[in-house]
């Protein structure tokens, strides 16, 4: 299925992901975080039918469980005692605090999974090329070189295995030595080859003057509207947050979970912000139905 959100200007996507990550970190409140997680899973569902999240399933679950267990293990503070293991106090506060952090972190990871679907590296590159053209070139080279080096290392290990030299057989000190030789060969070889890359860059006028950048993406009206929408909501939420709304104080005394009116207001804005990709998909679907 075509992903309508990805068709927005990279700035919109970037703003959404940067905003969402900061919200997940700032708004530590179980209700906020819980709804956010549901929404993020929904976004992932609409973008790639959860295939990305499935790959991260194991990592996500272990992180979540580890964080919930570890916090009460090291932290005994809090008034509401749940139970005691030997002399170790397990408090409700510790569990809630650990749980909130765990949700926040897996939320951020899940967001990045969806980010990878929507923002391939060239979009990020495009954004940076505007502000920092030299940095963009560096980023571009790095993006090419990391997988290139990995392929080369594989190639070296295949070629060396054909000579009977390998890192998976023999005494371990010999293996370490061979491994070092591999890396050394990889580096000298890559440097040697990079001379040609450098020549090819210079031959195409790199470093001659100020760089311009090819415009892969046009800024449309919809993009402007989306940015206004996102920025207004984000500022409202952060304004509320600066007065302590949308945040559950756990220590020293845990607040009630009940939401005040302003908390509710903040939650509404928060939901509207996070649901933006869903609105886009829904709107697109609706328009499709109307036109057909």
């Amino acid at each position: 299925m075509e992903n309508r959100f990805a068709r927005f200007h990279p700035l919109v996507s970037f703003l959404f992901y940067a905003g969402s990550v900061s919200l997940l970190i700032l708004m530590l409140h179980p209700i906020f975080l819980g709804t956010a997680l549901v929404i993020i899973v929904l976004i992932n569902f609409f973008h790639d039918r959860l295939s990305g999240l499935r790959r991260w399933k194991f990592f996500l679950i272990t992180t979540f469980i580890l964080m919930i267990i570890l916090n009460p293990l090291f932290n005994e503070r809090g008034r509401h005692l749940l139970f005691e293991v030997g002399t170790h106090r397990v408090t409700l506060e510790a569990v809630v605090y650990g749980g909130m952090n765990a949700m926040s972190i897996i939320g951020v990871i899940a967001l990045f999974v969806s980010y990878n679907v929507v923002m391939p590296p060239n979009k990020l590159l495009f954004l940076f090329a505007k502000i920092l053209p030299q940095f963009a070139v560096l980023l571009m080279l790095t993006l090419r070189f990391i997988p290139l080096m990995r392929r080369r290392l594989e190639e070296i290990s295949v070629v060396q295995r054909s000579k009977g030299i390998s890192v998976s057989h023999g005494k371990w000190n010999r293996r370490v030595r061979t491994g070092m030789l591999y890396v050394q060969t990889l580096l000298t070889y890559s440097l040697e080859e990079a001379i040609q890359t450098a020549d090819s860059m210079k031959a195409r006028g790199y470093g001659m003057g100020t760089r311009s950048s090819y415009e892969y993406f046009k800024f449309r009206n919809a993009d402007v509207l989306a940015i206004i929408y996102l920025v207004i909501l984000l500022s409202l939420i952060i304004y509320c947050r600066s007065f302590g709304y949308g945040f559950l104080t756990v220590y020293p005394v845990m607040e009630a979970w009940k939401l005040s009116h302003l908390d509710m207001g903040a939650l509404t804005c928060y939901l509207m912000f996070l649901c933006f990709p869903l609105f886009v998909e829904a709107g697109g679907w609706y328009r499709w139905r109307l036109s057909n």
């Binding site: 060239n122 070139v137 090419r144 054909s162 000579k163 060969t185 070889y189 080859e193 090819s200 001659m208």
Partner: protein, 548 residues
């Protein structure tokens, strides 16, 4: 006044006693197609790089290089006037996707986005590369990569195009395509093109002027038809492509034919049905199968397509098998599977009737010598000598004098103390071969050993291989070099879509092919009953007829 003019140019690299370019003078007119050739290390690349200020190598330069009335040293902003395409398709790439790669040069010269857009649109259309734009550059075949490199350079609208062995790594069809593109640029836009090349079969037909270099000097220069007889009569006979060589070896009369068309019309004029049908000379082969692949399938990733698809292959003892096929048809993968470096997903490889798996790694490596496509990766040590000592140590070979003999035999004793990366392509190839031969393998698997070799090194390599072959070594090589395969191999195979679609002895193998065939075959196709494949065959056939 000439467009490009060099007067008494001498160039010496730092720490070198011999100059790389020695008192060279040269004139090239606007709109000419010039082909530079000569042995590796004769200064072709250096000369090309000297013409472009941005990539001039460090060293001492004497003399004058003037382009379009301006000395190269004093010019500013020539970057977009002169385009340069390098040998290695991969190393020139900067970006990881094709569109970024194409516009890289335009961004560098600060072209406004609108103009960039229109130039890109036009160029992409010219190259028919619409479908490639969003692809990752490393997924493209070598031929396509080189076309993208050319496109990226052409987007800057150069007047002069310099190319340093651009087709060295391309298969015959991609090479043809690339050269056609150059021809069009030269014909339709009057672009001045200077091309350095080793494989001269096809480029001589395109050139207005050919320049042969030796030791940093221009040896022979002029129009191809006038100059070729001179080369033929010098010590550098090997450089003459097979069609003019056929003409010259038969003492033909009239102008030298260069293209297949000219060759065919000459042959028709010169010999009306020169020889009738003759019996096939069947080469007796020992029926002793050395290595055998039985319906093997292989793919790199679970979800990707099969690179090798139910492939069968058997190599007999003493066979010299040449495997041809396009870039990315799976030749390298097959070699790796045969060497036991990759495990086939389905099927088995048998070595001396025992499954490859049942051998210990050690036993197998001793018997199978594998020369990778990129011999640079073969060397872990920083000199050739250390690498050899390491090999002797690893395989517990007592004799160091044997190694010296081998080096002498291969003619690379002088590079013993050099760093492998400082050797030329041919020397590197032989140094790696020396390390392989030390452990006395029974089978040699060579991945494109003729890549980037000049004709003379190629002939020497062939001599070495034939000698080994005669001593009973089984040789299996992949190559893009059809003339080489036709001349030396005892059997040829064609790789297509993960399978060997046809295999036969060279003369029958090449008979039916259109692109994958030799120049001589193209000339005699349909003209005589027994179509010869190589120059040697022609002279042998003629000789036998005279005897009758």
């Amino acid at each position: 006044m000439a467009f490009i003019e060099l007067t008494n140019v001498t160039f010496t690299y730092p720490d070198c006693s011999e100059p790389a370019i020695n008192n060279l003078s040269l004139k090239i007119n606007k709109g000419q197609f010039v082909v530079l050739f000569g042995a590796s290390g004769s200064g072709k690349s250096t000369l090309l790089k000297l013409l472009k200020k941005e990539i001039q190598p460090h060293g001492k330069l004497l003399g004058q290089i003037v382009i379009d009335g301006q000395p190269v040293q004093e010019t500013e902003g020539l970057a977009n006037d002169i385009g340069f395409v390098f040998q290695d398709p991969e190393n020139q790439l900067v970006a990881d996707d094709v569109l970024h790669e194409m516009v890289f040069g335009l961004e560098n010269i600060g072209l406004p986005p609108n103009e960039m857009r229109s130039r890109v649109a036009e160029m992409v259309h010219f190259f028919g590369a619409e479908s490639l734009l969003a692809r990752k550059s490393h997924q493209l075949s070598g031929g396509k990569k080189q076309q993208i490199n050319l496109a990226s350079v052409l987007l800057m609208q150069p007047n002069i195009l310099l190319l340093d062995e651009p087709t060295a790594q391309l298969d015959p069809v991609s090479t043809r395509e690339f050269l056609d593109m150059l021809k069009r640029l030269n014909d339709e836009f009057g672009m001045t093109i200077i091309l350095a090349e080793h494989r001269l079969e096809e480029v001589f037909t395109l050139a207005d002027q050919i320049i042969m270099m030796e030791k940093g000097q221009v040896q022979i220069e002029g129009e191809p038809k006038e100059v070729i007889p001179k080369i033929w009569n010098s010590a550098n006979k090997d450089y003459v492509p097979s069609i003019p060589a056929l003409f010259l070896s038969m003492n033909g009369e009239g102008s030298v034919p260069l293209t297949v068309k000219e060759g065919r019309s000459w042959v028709q004029r010169a010999m009306a049905d020169p020889y009738g049908e003759k019996e096939q000379v069947s080469t007796p082969l020992l029926d002793d199968v050395r290595i055998r692949a039985k319906s093997i399938s292989f793919r790199y990733e679970k979800k990707s397509d099969f690179i090798l698809n139910e492939l069968d292959l058997s190599l007999k003892k003493g066979e010299f098998y040449a495997l041809l096929g396009g870039n990315g048809s799976g030749k390298s993968t097959l070699l790796k599977v045969m060497a036991g470096l990759l495990r086939p997903e389905v099927g088995k490889v048998f070595y001396d009737k025992k499954a490859l798996k049942s051998y210990k790694d050690h036993e197998l490596t001793r018997r199978i010598g594998y020369l990778p496509q990129n011999p640079k990766l073969f060397f872990l040590q920083d000199t050739v000598e250390k690498e050899i000592l390491e090999t002797i140590d690893q395989w517990e070979l007592a004799d160091a004098t044997e190694a010296d003999n081998l080096l002498n035999q291969l003619g690379i004793a002088h590079v013993k103390t050099s760093h492998p990366y400082d050797l030329s392509g041919g020397e590197l190839q032989k140094a790696a071969l020396a390390c392989l031969l030390l452990r006395k393998p029974e089978i040699l698997l060579l991945d494109e050993p003729t890549k980037g070799l000049d004709p003379i090194s190629k002939r020497r390599l062939a001599e070495i291989l034939l000698e080994l072959n005669a001593a009973g070594m089984t040789i299996f090589m992949s190559t893009h070099d059809i003339e080489f395969a036709a001349r030396y191999a005892t059997k040829c195979g064609m790789m297509f879509q993960g399978n060997i679609t046809s295999e036969d002895i060279p003369r029958r193998f090449f008979k039916g092919n259109f692109f994958y065939t030799t120049m001589i075959q193209r000339i005699f196709r349909d003209l005589v009953l027994r179509v010869p494949m190589t120059l040697e065959e022609v002279s042998r056939q003629c000789a036998s007829i005279e005897k009758l």
